[in-house]
């Protein structure tokens, strides 16, 4: 088990920079998710940690030891691929035992370890099957088995559930987290699916265009996004952004939003007048007749226990999550009341959060 540290990691391919100056530390035993849209550099970062790609600049430390330019095989790390990469010319037992064979372990010991691993993953009955005959989930388990059998320092997983169908993905999420809790190995999990990251990870790094935007626990990321990108990427539907212009003073408890005062968490920094953004999560909106921000209901999307109601306001379209029992008529005018303690403020220019009592202003990476 190991601590993984990444310092000023940068990778560029010819003109294109895939990863720009990443810094983070993953503590021993942490389930760490790297989350971001495709092309954000998360897979490249993972491949550099695995040793499948060499960084242009920066350092990778494994338990304090610099492994930046070590061979992949010398790092004692296991990698799980999206396509599973099970060797088609070997059966299940052959696949799981392969890393041990690479190390030159004796046949009997390999057999014992393979059986042990298969029992842990509940695939003992499949050991002599051909990999091409397996279902998606079983292939996934075999790929995990191949990673686990060596008892490596860390697991790196590149969208391991990406090739599974939605229903099964949910099941495997639970299994993966359960497995992590049992063996407690440091895990880096790359995904573009926020639900996977939120449900499994201890820590999430949200990446965008080669940069780490924020590293925090899932709750922190959701409740106190460090930037508009994070706020927009996490949550479905994403956070509403309401643009306005104004200055801020340390200690203010309210902002002047298009001539109406809106109570916000206490402001912790001074700002000259500039274009700003008020961030509101859909579930922090209530319909109240008296509220000063008003709009016309555009449509409603029924989701079972809740419904997403979109409202056209003078400052843009806003999505609100309301109990589905609440009657809503398209075209009616409603007032929007915001849950003051949960509001976020961003600088419209840089996209970064402004420091308030609710967080913000802290940037990692």
């Amino acid at each position: 088990m190991a601590q993984i540290r990444v310092e000023n990691l940068r990778k560029s391919f010819d003109q294109f920079t895939a990863v720009e100056g990443s810094n983070f530390t993953i503590d021993d035993g942490t389930f760490f998710a790297m989350l971001g849209p495709s092309g954000c550099g998360k897979t490249t970062t993972l491949r550099m940690i695995a040793g499948l790609e060499l960084p242009t600049e920066g350092k990778i430390l494994l338990d304090g030891k610099d492994v930046t330019f070590d061979r992949a095989s010398a790092r004692d790390i296991a990698f799980v691929f999206q396509l599973f990469a099970l060797y088609p010319h070997m059966n299940v037992a052959g696949n799981i035992g392969f890393p041990l064979k690479c190390q030159g372990m004796g046949r009997r010991e390999i057999r014992q370890r393979v059986e042990e691993t298969a029992r842990l993953l509940r695939i003992e009955h499949l050991l002599s099957s051909k990999t091409s005959k397996l279902s998606g989930g079983d292939r996934q388990r075999v790929a995990l088995g191949r990673a686990m059998v060596r008892r490596p320092k860390a697991f790196l997983m590149d969208e391991p559930l990406g090739a599974l169908d939605a229903e099964f993905r949910h099941l495997m999420c639970g299994e993966l987290r359960d497995l992590h809790d049992r063996i407690g190995a440091t895990t880096i999990y790359v995904t573009h699916d926020q639900l996977e990251a939120m449900s499994m990870a201890d820590q999430i790094a949200v990446m965008n265009k080669g940069r780490v935007e924020q590293i925090s626990s899932p709750q922190e990321i959701y409740d106190r996004p460090a930037s508009m990108f994070v706020a927009d990427f996490i949550g479905s539907p994403p956070m509403n952004f309401l643009r306005f212009e104004g200055g801020l003073h340390c200690g203010d408890r309210a902002i002047s939003f298009h001539d109406t005062d809106i109570i916000v968490p206490e402001i912790r920094e001074d700002r000259a007048s500039a274009p700003l953004v008020l961030g509101v999560r859909p579930e922090h909106i209530r319909f109240t007749d008296a509220a000063p921000v008003r709009g016309e209901v555009f449509g409603a999307e029924y989701l079972g226990t809740t419904q997403i109601v979109t409202v056209d306001t003078a400052h843009g379209r806003v999505a609100a999550r309301l109990p589905s029992a609440m009657p809503v008529r398209v075209g009616e005018t409603v007032g929007l009341e915001f849950h003051s303690e949960r509001l976020a403020l961003f600088d419209a220019g840089s996209g970064l959060a402004i420091r308030t009592a609710n967080g913000g202003g802290v940037r990692h990476g």
Binding site: G51, L52, A72, S73, Q82, A85, P88, H89, F98
Partner: protein
Amino acid sequence: MTAAVAKSTAHSIVESSSRAKAVAGSLVILYAMITILPLVWIVATAFKSQSDAIAYPPKVLFQPTLEGYVNLFTVRTRQTPDFIAKLPPPQTWYDKLVRQHDMVIAGPSKVVPRFVNSLIIGFGSTFLAVFLGTLAAYAFSRFRIPLADDLLFFILSTRMMPPVAVAIPIYLMYRQLNLTDTRLGMILLYTAVNVSLAVWLLKGFIDEIPREYEEAALVDGYTRLQALRKVVLPQAVTGIAATAIFCLIFSWNEYAFAVLLTSGEAQTMPPFIPFIIGEGGQDWPAVAAATTLFVVPIVLFTVLLRKHLLRGITFGAVRK
């Protein structure tokens, strides 16, 4: 037929009608007969006597004899019947066969060494071309190589003219290097011609193998070469087999360079077979026997690898 055609234009996969199957089947059989008939005729001619071989109208039914094969493997001299009568009685069946035509066996012919040359040069150059081609194709497929596209085009461009166009320079070069009429020289020459084909064919096959396989092996503790040998090659076996067949067919059949560059030591079968005609009249059965022998290895090789060959040719045609 019309129904099947109408359905197939709708881009659906339809079970073809039994009449369509019958037509398709008979076309295939007709084509097979056209291609197989000359081969059958050659195999039959090898068992004919010299007079049966040139009989007109051609004889389909004949008294089979091994004369053709005996003549192929031996050198004979013509003697007077008196001389033959004075000789001790023939020791073997082939002695007897030869003496019926007033001849005696003077020794073995050169067919065996020529055949061995063909085997060594054909398989040797095929092995080398596929070996080098695999390594080069792997490198082109997996690594960032400066000017990779230009290099690949350059490799392919060696195929853009008939190889014989460079016959004279190669002849002069080989004379300087003392490579004329050596097996090594012929192996190198055929390898050089085949390697371009091998690189291009194999690159396509290796491109189709997801890199994750060898990356998984690299993470699990293999070196790059071990990963290539234990993980990539077993999956590329189809492509390698198909490539090997194409290379072997080329170097096995090659005639022009063989005539130009070999005369004795390293002579292969293609330039040797015409020589048989000249020895003791037009000995068509012996020529047919030589041709039959010449065809056997390539048929065996292809039959052994046919599963791979078929998959090799259609590989990548359909996305899995």
